[in-house]
Amino acid sequence: MTKEDANRLARAIVEVKERTTICRTCFNVGVGERCAICADERRDPTVVCVVEDPRDIVAIERTREFRGRYHVLGGALSPIEGVGPDQLRIKELLRRIEPERVKEVILCTNPNLEGETTAMYLAKQLAPLGLRVTRIASGLPVGGDLEYADELTLGRALEGRREVQP
């Protein structure tokens, strides 16, 4: 790489970083007020997949199995790390249900203890709203202890999702 190339690359990285914003609807990363997924009219707004982190969206998108929208919580319940419901974007999720006429929420939090507990919490919060709440089928037991959750085969997990009893 020449010095000029390197400078050009550096400028490009700065530019991307400056333009990257958080989507006001789903909290995914994107450019502008709405991310590419929320802005895409072809995507089904009535199915919302709840994830912990924007990187999970990348993983699910790669499976090409899902045509709905997302909601990024920004983590999972974990008092040890100072994370309670107020630190997650749970109220923001609940506020989306009515105006966007959401019919199904898929809980796609990580298949470890904190992710499972967060899913359980969300299921209880969503129960009074009278919509379908499902949980991805997890290949790991609760507390999959070494937590290589990101390597989970998400495509299959989405397909095998099941209704959650709050």
Binding site: I80, T117, M120, Y121
Partner: protein, 342 residues
């Protein structure tokens, strides 16, 4: 260092204190459980100044060979490979390598607080039923989460705290009940074996009584709900498997407070032997015996009795002195300064 212990026989590891004998056993036990056999904190398992510790061992079960490779850093998660494939669950390690450890510190199982006795039971649960390895971890982690939540609540039960406690309680009730029931079932099976071994070791007619006392009545979910107010006040979880007790007595005398130290040693040895027997029965394979300076504190009669009671199979014994009377070593290895010198 590299050790080639002899299958089916007794390998004796000699060396002065600090030559690395115990670390060698610790490494073997860790590879099959991802836990320190002495309950040492993780940082102390890695040599000071080193980035990581690496354990590589081959386990043989009949003709099947399994290579385990574990890399542990002072902080963070272990990197674990089984036959060069990443391992996602502790269960897979336990299924490959089970160990039974005898150490002079074991006296604390009888003399110390209840946590040592619960840990012994949980080790047996996991070795006998490896599927419960994650259950044990979930129980430990939920308790940390729940207790932190109780502390941060500052004694007040807001709607948010109540809703969050509900879900942590549900997790604790599920995993906690599973663990408790498994402990009770395995303790039941250990009872007769422990009692018989104790009589032999102590040279007495009196046997050993083992019983399990739960910290709650009825189901754990309801007990957690009932105890919530007091848990908030005390900022700790007051019911659950972490508060249950394993009670040990001989001829009606509480082993912790009423037996002589010599008898207490016999109790710990009997518990280890019984655990070994039950695990072997469940697993269909004999755990490797790790005898960490196990004879040093025993009088000659007890040492002889233990040698007689030790089940056949592979054993590795460390010793700073000589061999226990009557022991037949099939191989001897000498350590100096963390290295095998012969």
């Amino acid at each position: 260092m590299e050790l080639r212990p002899l299958a089916g026989g007794l390998t004796v590891v000699t060396g002065e204190n600090g030559s690395g004998k115990t670390s060698l056993l610790e490494a073997i036990a860790y590879a099959g459980s991802l836990r320190s056999m002495r309950d040492s904190p993780r940082e102390s398992l890695v040599r000071i100044g080193a980035e990581r510790a690496v354990v590589r061992l081959e386990a043989a079960d009949g003709a099947r060979r399994t290579l385990l490779e574990i890399e542990l850093a002072p902080r963070g998660r272990d990197r674990v490979l089984r036959n060069r494939q990443r391992v996602g669950r502790v269960q897979e390690l336990v299924e490959t390598l089970r160990t039974t450890v005898f150490s002079p510190d074991d006296l604390e199982i009888v003399k110390g607080g209840p946590e040592r006795r619960r840990a012994l039971l949980d080790d047996v649960v996991v070795a006998a039923r490896p599927g419960l390895a994650s259950t044990r971890q979930v129980v430990e982690r939920v308790l940390r989460q729940r207790n932190t939540l109780l502390k941060s609540a500052g004694g007040r039960l807001s709607a948010e705290v109540a809703a969050t406690l509900d879900v942590w309680d549900a997790q604790l009730a599920g995993a906690g009940t599973q663990l408790t029931e498994a402990r009770e079932a395995l303790l039941e099976e250990m009872g007769p074996a422990a009692s018989a071994a104790f009589s032999q070791l102590a040279g007495t007619e009196a046997g050993l009584e083992l019983s399990y006392r739960r910290s709650y009545e009825g189901d754990l979910g309801s007990a957690l709900a009932t105890g919530r107010t007091s848990d908030l006040r005390r900022e700790a979880t007051t019911v659950g498997p972490h508060r249950d007790e394993l009670l040990i007595s001989s001829a009606g005398l509480d082993a912790r407070t009423r037996l002589s130290q010599g008898r207490q040693r016999c109790v710990t040895l009997a518990l280890r032997l019984a655990a070994h027997e039950v695990v072997a029965r469940y697993a269909g394979t004999t755990p490797v015996l790790l005898l960490d300076d196990a004879f040093s504190e025993l009088d000659e009669r007890t040492a002889r009795a233990l040698l007689e009671e030790l089940p056949p199979g592979q054993a590795i014994l460390t010793t700073a002195g000589g061999l226990p009377p009557g022991a037949k070593a099939s191989g001897v290895v000498h350590l100096e300064g963390g290295r095998i010198v012969r």
